[in-house]
């Protein structure tokens, strides 16, 4: 990197608004050779990624956010547009960072040693509890297979499309869709009889 490139944001160098106008994919492609092109991505997606961590590891969200961005930065060459958009890739990085955090702190959590789970379901469960989500729904969510639950939360909370959620979890989009439908059907199946609404 030349000193010139180190100084100033891409917005300043490329004219105002460039960072804002470029798509995530363009920025990431440019970041391969011009590191400063990465920075608009941080501004753009930090709120969403921080939210992801805040929901699942509330005490460590700030730390995990910085860690996720460093991880994303150092593995930016590994992004493959064929597998999904940058946004999905970033959540995939966040998911790995969270999972590593969860395992790293496992010994600090009483009563969970050796149960082999590495999803932060407990934090999510506590969040649902606090938000007064119906116990019936909580119980149903707990019983869902982990991948289905994760896909569902990515769609519900991170507002990802099923295709994006699939890319985050690393399964084909079609598989994700059928799993999400299956999850929804389970969540419906045990519902009290609906006397109005569609019969489909």
């Amino acid at each position: 990197m030349t000193p010139d490139e180190r100084d100033g944001t891409p917005d300043e160098r490329d004219g105002p608004g460039t960072g804002g106008a470029a798509t995530d994919e363009e920025l990431l492609a440019r970041a391969g050779r011009d590191a400063s092109a990465f920075e608009p991505l941080v501004r753009r997606h930090s709120d969403a990624l921080h939210g992801y961590f805040a929901r699942r590891a509330p005490g460590a969200a700030d730390d995990l956010l910085a860690e996720a961005w460093l991880q994303a930065y150092s593995t930016r060459h590994g992004f493959d547009a064929a597998r999904g958009p940058v946004r999905a890739w970033l959540f995939g990085v966040a998911r790995n960072v969270l999972s590593a955090h969860w395992r790293r702190t496992e010994r600090q959590r009483p009563g969970r040693l050796g149960d082999g789970r590495d999803d932060p379901w407990e934090a999510v469960d506590a969040r649902l509890d606090a938000a007064a989500v119906a116990p019936r729904l909580c119980a149903l969510l707990t019983e869902l297979p982990e991948v289905e639950r994760e896909l569902l939360l990515l769609v519900a909370w991170e507002q990802l499309t099923p295709g994006e959620a699939a890319a985050v979890v690393g399964i084909p989009a079609g598989t994700a869709r059928s799993r999400l439908h299956r999850a929804r059907n389970r969540l419906r199946a045990d519902a009290p009889l609906k006397l109005t609404g569609d019969l489909a």
Partner: protein, 306 residues
Amino acid sequence: MTERTEGSEGTERAGLLDFPGAAELIAAGDVAPPRPGAVAAAQAAVAFAAREGTRPVPRRRRLLVATAAVAAIAAGAVAYPVLDLGGKPAATASASAGRFLDDMAGVAAGAPASDAEYWKVRVETDNQDDGKRTFTTYYARSGEAGEVKKWPVGEEWLTWPQLDELPTDEKALAALFPKDAERRFEQIVIMLEDSPAGPKLRSALFRILADTPGIELIGDVEDSKGRPGVAVEMTRKARYSTGPGEDVTYWTKDRYVVDPDTGLLLENTHKIRGQSLPADRYTWLEVGPADKPADKLADGPADKRG
């Protein structure tokens, strides 16, 4: 969060979220937006990594360096890099390390105080990823222009003027640092490395180290520049991520070489045991007051590759 799904994707999402209690579930995901400091810290970390070059830098070290060097722009506390705190049996400070560090407290107390406006730090770093590099940085006491460096104390990051307000009574000062011996060690040595802490503060820092368990006295050594010094070491367990979801646990030996005549830190090396992970070295070539910066005020490390 803004609604972003539209059209058929939005319809699909709505269809998938059509079950009893879905609205409550979605509402349960409401979280406050991040503090500006959290995003600024992430930006600073990435900016620093970008400046350091494109080759991978060990995650722990990178985080540490990034947050310590450029936490400046982050308002509020920056989380400290996560270290594994559970795996090491409690050790007591070796008596000889304690005695040496106590001696250094005396030496530090007798060092001249300075009211210079600037602080100059010239450091050579060496690791397998980046090779040998030298950074020269000036910090202004007033903190008005360019980069303001901060040093971690517990959950806070303090500027130069704030360092001057720290208590210099050992007990009062120790209460501000983490209780955990390894984290305490790490924060205190960061301040001893390159901060403009005054003689009384440096002296108190050495006294706290003298009472910190787990530090071993290695004895007389020469640093990589051939300067004579006395080395102390802290061995601790840490984790390093080699890729998404892949963590490696390793033992790292942090060695500090102290100039026994001045109490200044000459060199720091990290040696990693049993793993082929990069070790690194920080050699402080010059740390001290300066009347004025050589050319321009610290606007980021002016680096040159060696």
